[in-house]
Amino acid sequence: MGRGTTVAFHSYKGGTGKTTLISNLAALYAASGSRVCLLDFDLYAPSLMSYFKKIPTAYVNDLLNGEVDISRILVDVSAELELKGKLLLGFSSNKKEDVNAIEIKHELKWQLTAMRRFLSAKNQLFEQYGIEHLFLDTSPGIRYWSINALAAADNLFLVMKDSDMDIEGTMRMINDIYDSLVKFGSKFFVVLNKVPGASPIIENRFGADDTASIADFEKQIKSRVVGSIPCFCDVQFSKHEFLWAVKQPEHPFSKKLIEVAEAIRNL
C-alpha cells in the first residue's frame, strides 16, 4: 500500500463553511471504509472541537510545542459514529492562552521546529496508523499556520463563498501563495460553497448549477472548481449541523457533498 495523501482546506476569509465541509468529507471517506485523520490547524480560531463536541486530553498545540506525541492528541470517533473505516481527530485548543501563545510565536525558528514536529507526526500517521487520507482544516487568510499546513499538503482546496467573495483578495492570495505551492508540486482546486440558487436568494453572481459561469471563473483563477455546493437554509440556520452527509444522506446538501467527495477521490 502506498503512502496516503494530505489535503488542506483553506479560504481567504472566515465563514466559508470550511470546517463543515472538511468534517463531512472526512466522515464520508471513513464511512466508505477508508482510514482517515482530520486535524484542526485553524489554530487562531479553532472550531473543530465544538463541531464534534469533544474535549481531548491533548491538543495539536501541544504536539507543535513538542510536549506530546501524535498518539496523545488523537480521538477515535469511528465506533460512536458507526463508520466502516477509521476517523481519527486532532483538535486545536480554543483556550485564550493557547490561541495567544500561537499568535505571539512568530519567529521562524519556532515555526520550523514546530513544522518538523508536525511532519514527523504526519509520517507516523501514514506509517504507523495506516492513514490513507489526512485532512487539514487550516486558518483563513495568510498566516503562519495556514501557510505551513498548505505547504505540508499534496492537494489544496480553496473554499469560497459566492455571496461575499472577495475576488481581488483571493486572486492576490492565489498569486502570492498558491502559485509557489503549485510550482513545487501541490495541486490546487476550488470548492464553491453556500452558492445561492437552492434557496430564494436573488442577488447572485452565479447559481449552483451555472456551469458557464463556473467555466469563466475557472479561467479567471486558473484552477478547477471541483464542487459547487448550494446554500441550503436549513443547513445554514441549523442549530448544529453535524455530519449530515453521513447522518442524513438523502438531504440535497448531503448528496452534493457525496458528489464532491467522489470528485476529490477521482482527482
Partner: protein, 283 residues
C-alpha cells in the same frame, strides 16, 4: 542518476550501475549472509529477472517461508517459473523435495553443475545464489583445485547469460589457501562482519573489490529488519525538513545552489515550498 539496489546497499556502496558480476560473499555464521542473498534474488524477481537459488541448508518450503517472513513473497514468481531452486539440502531428509532440481549427492560436484545448468535453462537476465560453498564442501573433502574448477565453470555459465551471482562462504570453515583461490575466481568480494557494541551486536558490510566498478571500501553498518537488510549510513544523517534519521540513501536536492539531504521527495518538496514562501530567513 539514482540507481536501485542490486544487492542490499549496492546503490550506496557502488558508484554507477553495478556491472553483471560474480561476487563472493564472505562472512561468519549468523551475520546475515542468507537473508542478504534472498533479498538480492527478490530485488531481481520484482524486476522480472529469473532467479536461481542453490541451497545447501534449507528445503524449498523453508526458503519460501523464510523469505515470506521478511516480506519477500515469491509464490507468484514461482508460478511464473521465474524463481527456481536447486535443492542440495533435502538429501539429508531422504530426498523428497518440491523442487524439480534435487541433488541427491552434493559431494558429486558434476551433478551439482548439471542441475544448475538445467535449472538456469530458459531464464533471462539471471541472478543466482550459491548458498553456500561451505555447505557443499562440508559433505566431502574436496581438492581445492577441483572445487575451484567447478566454481569457475558456474561463473562462466552465469557470465555467458550476462547474469549476476553471489557465492557464499563462511571463512572460519576454510583454510587461507582456499579463500585466496576463491577471491581470485570471482569478479568481486563482499565482506560481512560482526562487532560487539556494548550489549548488542553491530553488523557491518563492505565491498572489498568489484571489477569494473568504482565503489566505497568503508565498512557500512547494517541491520536485519522485518523488511530484510537495511544498510545504514556510517554517520548519523537527518532530514533537513522533518529531522528524521535517514537510514538509507538520502534524497539529495540542491536548493539555491546548496545540496540538502532529505528523507524523501515529499520532504524536499515541502522544504522548497516553505523556502519560496518564507524566503531566505527559512533555514
Amino acid at each position: 542518476m539514482k540507481y536501485e539496489d542490486v544487492f542490499p546497499g549496492s546503490a550506496r556502496l557502488v558508484e554507477g550501475a553495478l556491472p553483471p558480476s560474480s561476487l563472493l560473499l564472505i562472512g561468519p555464521s549468523g551475520v546475515g549472509k542468507t537473508i542478504f542473498c534472498k533479498q538480492f534474488l527478490y530485488n531481481g524477481l520484482i524486476k522480472g529477472e529469473g532467479c536461481l537459488y542453490v541451497s545447501t541448508s534449507e528445503s524449498p518450503d523453508e526458503i519460501e517461508q523464510s523469505m515470506r517472513n521478511f516480506g519477500f513473497e515469491i509464490s507468484s514468481y514461482k508460478e511464473k517459473d521465474l524463481f527456481r531452486i536447486v535443492d542440495c539440502h533435502s538429501w539429508k531428509t531422504g530426498g523428497a523435495s518440491t523442487s524439480k532440481w534435487v541433488v541427491k549427492n552434493p559431494g558429486d560436484l558434476a551433478t551439482v553443475s548439471i542441475n544448475i545448468e538445467n535449472a538456469i535453462r530458459g531464464l533471462n537476465k539471471i541472478r543466482m545464489v550459491l548458498d553456500s560453498i561451505t555447505g557443499l564442501t562440508s559433505t566431502c573433502s574436496y581438492n581445492p583445485t577441483y572445487l575451484s574448477k567447478f566454481l569457475q565453470i558456474i561463473v562462466a555459465k552465469i557470465r555467458l547469460l550476462n547474469g549476476t551471482a553471489i557465492f557464499v562462504v563462511t571463512p572460519e570453515a576454510h583454510d587461507q589457501q582456499l579463500l585466496s583461490y576463491l577471491r581470485e575466481i570471482f569478479d568481486g568480494t563482499l565482506e560481512m562482519k560482526e562487532e560487539d557494541a556494548g550489549d548488542e551486536i553491530k553488523r557491518l558490510l563492505r565491498v572489498f573489490s568489484i571489477k569494473g566498478a568504482s565503489h566505497k571500501t568503508k565498512w557500512m553498518p547494517f541491520e536485519i529488519t522485518n523488511k530484510g537488510i537495511v544498510v545504514k549510513n556510517d554517520v548519523e544523517m537527518r532530514c533537513v525538513m522533518c529531522s528524521r534519521l535517514i537510514e538509507q540513501e538520502p534524497y539529495v536536492e540542491t536548493v539555491d545552489g546548496n545540496p540538502y539531504n532529505f528523507d524523501s521527495a515529499e520532504c524536499a518538496s515541502t522544504y522548497r515550498k516553505l523556502k519560496a514562501l518564507y524566503g531566505d530567513s527559512f533555514e
